[in-house]
C-alpha cells in the first residue's frame, strides 16, 4: 500500500473564510520566504584552495567595460593608469576567467601598488590561494612562478588604447 503523502488529501470545496485564512497564510509564507532569501548569502562561500593560475595581468575596469581593447601591448599603458588609479587588477586566464589580486607575496597592498602596476599586461604564472565569493575569484598570490613580460602583440591592430597616444 503506497504511503500517503502528508500534504495530499481529498479535494474539497473551500469556503470564503477558509480561503481568506489560506490567502493570508500564503502571503505570510511568501513574505517569510522572501525574508529568508534576503538573509541568505547570494552565493555560498567556498573553501579556499591552492591554485596555479596562468594568464595576463590586466585591470578589471577595461576588461569588463568593453569600451576598449584590453589586451597586450595596445593596452599596457592604460592598464598601468588603471592599476595606479586603484582599480582592482586581475589575471585573465586563457578561458576568460578573471582572478582579482588581493595579495602579492608579503605585500598586501592591492590598490595603486606600483609593484602590481609594473606587471600590467604581462603574461604570468602565479601560485597562491583562491577564494570564490559572490561572483568573484579572489587570488592571494604567494609566488610568481613565471613572468614572461608583455608577449601579446596587439598594438599593430589596435594602436595605443584608448586614445591612440
Amino acid at each position: 500500500m503506497p504511503a500517503k503523502h502528508p500534504i495530499a488529501g481529498p479535494s474539497r470545496a473551500i469556503g470564503g473564510d477558509e480561503r481568506k485564512r489560506m490567502t493570508k497564510l500564503s502571503q505570510f509564507r511568501i513574505l517569510a520566504l522572501a525574508a529568508a532569501l534576503a538573509a541568505a548569502p547570494v552565493a555560498a562561500a567556498q573553501e579556499p584552495r591552492r591554485v596555479t593560475i596562468a594568464g595576463e595581468v590586466s585591470d578589471s575596469w577595461c576588461t569588463v567595460s568593453g569600451l576598449m581593447f584590453a589586451r597586450g601591448t595596445a593596452h599596457h599603458q592604460c592598464a598601468i593608469w588603471c592599476a595606479l588609479g586603484g582599480i582592482p587588477v586581475a589575471i585573465r586566464s586563457a578561458d576568460g576567467a578573471l582572478y582579482i589580486l588581493l595579495k602579492l607575496g608579503d605585500d598586501e597592498n592591492s590598490a595603486a601598488n606600483p609593484r602590481i602596476a609594473r606587471m600590467a599586461t604581462h603574461e604570468v604564472v602565479v601560485e597562491g590561494e583562491l577564494l570564490e565569493r559572490d561572483g568573484v575569484n579572489y587570488l592571494l598570490v604567494d609566488r610568481i612562478a613565471d613572468d614572461k613580460g608583455v608577449i601579446t602583440m596587439t598594438h599593430e591592430e589596435h594602436g595605443i588604447q584608448p586614445f591612440g597616444n
Binding site: T23, Q27, I30, L31, L33, A34, L37, A38, A39, A40, P41, V42, A43, S60, W61, V64, S65, G66, L67, T73, A74, H76, Q77, C78, W81, L84, G85, G86, I87, P88, A90, G96, L98, I100, L102, K103, E108, N109, S110, A111, A112, P114, A117, R118, A120, T121, L131, R133, D134, G135, V136, N137, Y138, L140, G149, V150, H155, G159, I160, N165
Partner: protein, 175 residues
C-alpha cells in the same frame, strides 16, 4: 494569483542581490551586464573580510574595498566616476560604517563588480558624487586636465619599457 503577485512585488523590491533596489539616478554607462542599483552595506577591506587579514583603517587606502550587504553578499567596489580610477577614496572614510552607494552592478559571467557613482550615510541626503580621487590626486600633484598623463608614478613606469611595455618597441611616428 494574489500570492504570486505578492511574491513578485517582494522579490522586485528586494532585487536579485537581496538589497533594496529603488529607482534613482545611477547613470547608465552602457557597460555589458550593467544594472543601476543602490547598495546598502558596511564598508570593509576585502582581504580582511574574506581572509581575516586585517589592517588598521581598512588598509588606509592601500587595499581594495567593498560593501557587505545585509544578506552577507560582498560586492567589490571597482570604479568611481573618475577616468581610470577606483572608488577607494570615496569609501575609505566610511571604513566599518553602513552606507548607501549608488552605481552600477556589473554581473558579467566572468566577474561581478560594483561601479560606484555616489555615496551617502543618511538616506535622506543626496548622494555625494564618487569623485574624491581627483581632489586627493590634485592635493598631491596639482591641477591636471588628465591626471593619468601627469601622474609621476605612471610616467616613471611607462618610461621604463615604453607605452607597449616592451623596451625598444616604440609607437610609429604619426604622419
Amino acid at each position: 494569483m494574489r500570492g504570486s503577485r505578492t511574491l513578485c512585488l517582494v522579490l522586485t523590491l528586494l532585487g536579485p542581490t537581496g538589497a533594496p533596489v529603488a529607482a534613482r539616478g545611477a547613470e547608465p554607462w552602457n557597460i555589458p551586464h550593467e544594472k543601476p542599483v543602490t547598495l546598502k552595506g558596511r564598508v570593509v577591506d576585502a582581504l580582511c573580510h574574506l581572509k581575516g587579514r586585517c589592517a588598521p583603517d581598512c588598509g588606509a587606502g592601500k587595499r581594495q574595498l567593498g560593501l557587505v550587504l545585509a544578506n552577507g553578499a560582498f560586492r567589490l567596489a571597482a570604479k568611481s566616476n573618475i577616468d581610470f580610477a577606483g572608488a577607494i577614496p570615496d569609501l575609505i572614510g566610511y571604513c566599518g560604517r553602513e552606507i548607501e552607494a549608488d552605481g552600477l552592478l556589473i554581473e558579467n559571467p566572468a566577474i561581478t563588480l560594483f561601479f560606484v557613482q555616489g555615496v551617502r550615510v543618511d538616506p535622506q541626503s543626496p548622494f555625494i558624487p564618487a569623485d574624491r580621487f581627483r581632489s586627493q590626486w590634485e592635493a598631491r600633484h596639482g591641477k591636471a586636465d588628465e591626471w593619468w598623463r601627469a601622474d609621476p608614478e605612471a610616467n616613471r613606469l611607462i618610461s621604463e619599457n615604453g607605452p607597449f611595455g616592451i623596451r625598444g618597441l616604440a609607437p610609429k611616428p604619426r604622419p
